[in-house]
Each structure stands twice: as structure tokens, then as C-alpha cells.
Amino acid sequence: MEANFNLLAYIFLLAAVILSLISLWRPGRLISYMVQASLILSFAYLTLALVLRSIAAGRLPFANLYEFTLLFAWGILLFYLISRRVIKSDLLAALVAILVVIILSYSNTLSSGPGPLMPALQSVWLQFHVITAIIAYGAFGLSFCLAIIYIIKEKGYDSPDVNNLPSLAKLDNLLHWSVAIGFPFMTLVLITGAVWAEEVWGRWWGWDPKETWALITWLIYAAYLHARKTYGWRGKRSAIMAIVGFLAVLFTLFGVSLLLPGAHSYV
């Protein structure tokens, strides 16, 4: 069952990618509606798959990189759906759908057995650590897509969807809003990780590559927020920082796991 729902989530996501690309080329109300419906269905099926997996495993799906990859995709979709209250754009839908399709495709290459929790993961701090990470990375994923849209709009491409986007200032505010939500949760990811590492390994910080890259991510977004507040760095420069920040997120999750093995072996 879980695999079926996962597959359905993936299919609707692919549909959203194709439909949103068509709608950029030939805009229309019907097709926009279909894009949204596909994304909402995809989110719903992904939620169901995660719930079923939790029931099957008798625990929350917080145990390995495969499960976190699903949660990461789920978080980005969640923040996208929230953002629909302020910005309705098929271009944004297309970017989010493409990003999430890539993440879910990658998850298919990971081992996915719902095994029981190894001793190191049996901690309440794991729960806090993962929940805060879903929120932080979901918000950063949305900010990444908004930053790309900002740059596209600023370049002045003349297309109906780009013209229909909110003003540059409003886009920039929205981008700032999503980073400003992600950042305190990123801080909590680092704190809960430190407390957990102290309880399980007896060292709250060990410069493990995963830890180091989570800190680097935090430093980049800290720089984004401070540059904006003090120097009024808005627009393109801050959009680029938001993009770099999310690249650091991706590297923390996937690059480090592939290239720089360390103590954080399960995720």
C-alpha cells in the first residue's frame, strides 16, 4: 500500500511538472487549476504513504536518509501550499514540482526498508531534531524557488506568467519571510542535534562533516538576514544568497552522505 501511494504521489508530481510547463507556454485557467490539483493530490498521497509507513514500522519515519528524503519533499510541498495564500504562480509551481521530483527520484535510489530503530536513534531528541529539520528545510526549499523566480522576473522576461507575478518588492518580501521562518528552526536543528549527540556519543559537537555543513548552512542564512536588515541588501544579491544557502542544504543532505562519510551514517 505504502509503495502504491508513493508511486501515486510521484505520478501526480510528474503530471504537475508537465502541466505547469505547458501552462507556461499556453496559459489558461483550466490548466492552472490542473497544476494545483496535481500538486495537492501529490502532497496528499505522500502524506498517506508516510502515515502508512509509520503504522507499518510502529514508529515515525525518522530512521534513515530514504525516510528523511520523503519528509524533505513533503516539507517543501507543504510550504508551497501555504505560500499559495499570497502568491499564485504556475512558474513557482513548475519550479517546486521539478525540485521535488528530483528529490523523490533520488529517494528511489536509496534503500527503503522500514527496519526497526537502531539503539543510537532511540531518543526523544531524534524526534525534535527531525521535525525542526523538516520545517527548516521545507521553508528553505520554498525560498530557493522564490529566489529563482525573483531573478527571472528581474531579468524582465516577457511572458504572461512572469508578468502576472507579484512585484519584485513583494517577491523579495516573500523570500525573506520564508528564510525568516526557516532560520529559527535551523537553529533548533543544531541545538537538538547537539543535545542528542551529547546524550548518545558524549560529545555535543565533533566537526563531523554533516554537523559542519549544517553549521555552514546556518552561517549563510545568518549572513542573508543580517545583510538584508543592516544594509538593505534586497533583490538580486539576497536572492543569490538564498540560492547558495539552499545549495548548502542539498550538500548537507546528499553531498555529505555520498562524499564525506562520518559519524552521521544513518542519514
Binding site: G115, P119, P184, I191, V195, W201, G202, H226, L260
Partner: protein, 336 residues
């Protein structure tokens, strides 16, 4: 320029956001370097791995220990000073709860950094392996007056034989004369007055006796360890403990982690060459290449990490202050 205004200029620079931003980005770049080069290896490693000249350069630039290098610590110290001076300047201008929250948040980072420094300078760590039923005096390891006895060690398994929990039952004699009985598990360390003991590892010890050149040599060795029989020929007896020996399969293969069919595999090596090999059941004696070996029993040993880190309390205080700052900064009503 008078000395006074010069000082003010320096303070302005030190507390400036420009410096702050520069430091954030530099710290990020420097920290990433440490994740790409293996840290803390001997200098020879880098010359072999990266080549003579690049290897020398890596060691010269302290890229083999980035996070303890003078330039990384200097940057971090500058960052702390920058945060401190900038926050102090802002303390005077806090009209509402939100801006006060922001200042508290920044000051909490300094508390966290102070915790890190105290951890780095004062923390004491040691790793010990103790067989079940054995005691160890921790005085020599930097924990005077403490001694630890391991009463029992066990592994709990899930149905699929994946480990569920590792548990050491210990009795700790403290420096103030108390005796504490406790179970130590992964994620549940023993804590007593700043001393913490963690479940870190485990393994099997095989017990027995070998007769080497007419001399009886009793042994109690972790699986894989060796006894020298003839150092001139580099001849050694190696012992491998197999908890669930597979009569049909490969000699060193264990069917499960449970001691259902315990065997000792004794191997006589000369350099890397296998000269003789015998599989012994419990209580059995066999000659291994002319050396009689008796396998008399086996037991678990538990690997424990023992530490005292006065920085952690300060660190956690910093975390609490940070949470308070976050709540004020983000959840306090905005003043228009």
C-alpha cells in the same frame, strides 16, 4: 588623529556589521575546508595521500587540524568580539520586546561559545574496555577516587536479530564513598556529579591457556588478538571467537550474534602465512602447530566512554537563553 577618536574608530570597525558579515562568510568557508580534508592524521599521511608538495602545504596551512588552527580560532574570537560589541551597542536602543529578544539571542551565542571554549580546554575523555565481572580503578584515567565494576553486559535484539539495545549493568564507586548501581544504555548514560559514562562498544573475550615452549600462558583476549610464540620468526597464535559456529560453512563465519554454538578458532601465523588452524569447543584442548591450546570459556566485554565536561552546563544555559531570545524575537507582539 587623537588616541581617543582612533580608539573609537577601532571599536566602530570591530562592532560593525561589515566585519560581522565578512566573518560569517569566512568562518563558513574555513569550516568547509575542514570537511574536505581528513582531520587529525599524522603529517606523513597527507604526503602519501596528496603527494609530497600538496601534503606539506596542507600541514603547513594547518588544514590537517582546521578547527584547532590559530587562524580558525582567531576568526572565531573576532566573531565573538564582533557579536559582543555589536550587541552592547544595541542594548541602549531596545524599544520593544522584539528588539530585546534579538539582543538576548545574540548574547546567547557568546554563552554558547564560552561553553565551547571551556569544553575544549577542560573536558576529560577516556575510553575503557572492561570484561563482565571485572573492576577498573579510574584514578589513573583522570577521574581520581572512582572505580567501576561491570556486573553484566547484554545485547537485546529485535526479532530479525538487529540489535535493539546494548546494556551494561555497572556499579560505580564514587570519590565521596558512594556506590551507585545503574544500567547504562545507548542514549541513557550514567550521570553522577558531572561525570558521565556512555555505552560505546562491546565485544567478546575468549579465555584459555596456551603452552608455549613448555610454559603455560593463560590468556583472556578480545577476538582477533594474538600471542607471540616465536618473535624471531614473527610467529604468533591468533584467536577468533565465533559465537554461533557454522559446522558446514566458512570457519570464521557466525550464523548469528548469539552464543548458540561457541567455538574458538586458533590460528598459527608466520608473518602473513597460516601455518596451522584448529577449531575448539569449550573445554577442549588441541595442538595448534605444536602448541597445545585450551579453550576454557568466553565472556562479553563492554566499551565505555567516560567523561567530565564542565562546558556542557554553560552550553545548555546558552541554549536556554537562545530559546528565550527566539521566543521574544519572533512571538512577542510587534510594536507599530
Amino acid at each position: 588623529m587623537s588616541g581617543n577618536s582612533r580608539k573609537r574608530l577601532d571599536l566602530n570597525l570591530l562592532s560593525s556589521m561589515k566585519l560581522g558579515l565578512l566573518l560569517l562568510l569566512l568562518l563558513g568557508i574555513m569550516a568547509s575546508l575542514g570537511s574536505f580534508f581528513p582531520q587529525g592524521q599524522p603529517p606523513g599521511f597527507y604526503r602519501v595521500y596528496y603527494g609530497e608538495l600538496p601534503g606539506r602545504l596542507i600541514v603547513f596551512l594547518s588544514l590537517d587540524h582546521v578547527y584547532r588552527s590559530w587562524w580558525f580560532l582567531t576568526l572565531a574570537a573576532l566573531f565573538a568580539l564582533n557579536t559582543l560589541t555589536c550587541s552592547l551597542k544595541r542594548i541602549k536602543k531596545t524599544p520593544d520586546l522584539r528588539s530585546r529578544g534579538s539582543v538576548i539571542l545574540h548574547l546567547s551565542i557568546l554563552v554558547i561559545l564560552a561553553g565551547a571554549v571551556i569544553s575544549g580546554v577542560m573536558a576529560r575523555h577516556t575510553y575503557v574496555e572492561i570484561g563482565t565481572g571485572k573492576s577498573l580503578d579510574l584514578t589513573a584515567m583522570g577521574f581520581p577516587g572512582y572505580s567501576l565494576r561491570v556486573k553484566e553486559f547484554k545485547v537485546e535484539y529485535y526479532e530479525n536479530l538487529q540489535p535493539k539495545q546494548y546494556i551494561s549493568s555497572v556499579s560505580l564507586k564514587t570519590a565521596d564513598g558512594q556506590e551507585i548501581e545503574r544500567e547504562i544504555q545507548v542514549n541513557r548514560p550514567l550521570k553522577y556529579k558531572g561525570l558521565k559514562i556512555y555505552q560505546a562498544s562491546y565485544g567478546w573475550l575468549a579465555r584459555g591457556e596456551a603452552v608455549i615452549n613448555g610454559k603455560e600462558v593463560p590468556f583472556e583476549l578480545a577476538s582477533g588478538r594474538e600471542l607471540d610464540t616465536d618473535p624471531d620468526k614473527n610467529e604468533r597464535l591468533a584467536f577468533f571467537f565465533i559465537p554461533d559456529f557454522d559446522e558446514q560453512g566458512d570457519t570464521l563465519h557466525s550464523r548469528s550474534p548469539l552464543p548458540n554454538n561457541p567455538r574458538l578458532v586458533a590460528v598459527l601465523f608466520q608473518d602473513k602465512q597460516v601455518m596451522a588452524r584448529e577449531v575448539l569447543a569449550e573445554g577442549e584442548t588441541r595442538g595448534v602447530g605444536g602448541y597445545p591450546v585450551t579453550f576454557s570459556g568466553y565472556l562479553y566485554y563492554t566499551g565505555l566512554e567516560i567523561k567530565k565536561d564542565p562546558g556542557v552546563g554553560i552550553l545548555y544555559a546558552g541554549f536556554v537563553i537562545l530559546l528565550l531570545g527566539l521566543v521574544m524575537r519572533y512571538l512577542a507582539p510587534e510594536k507599530h
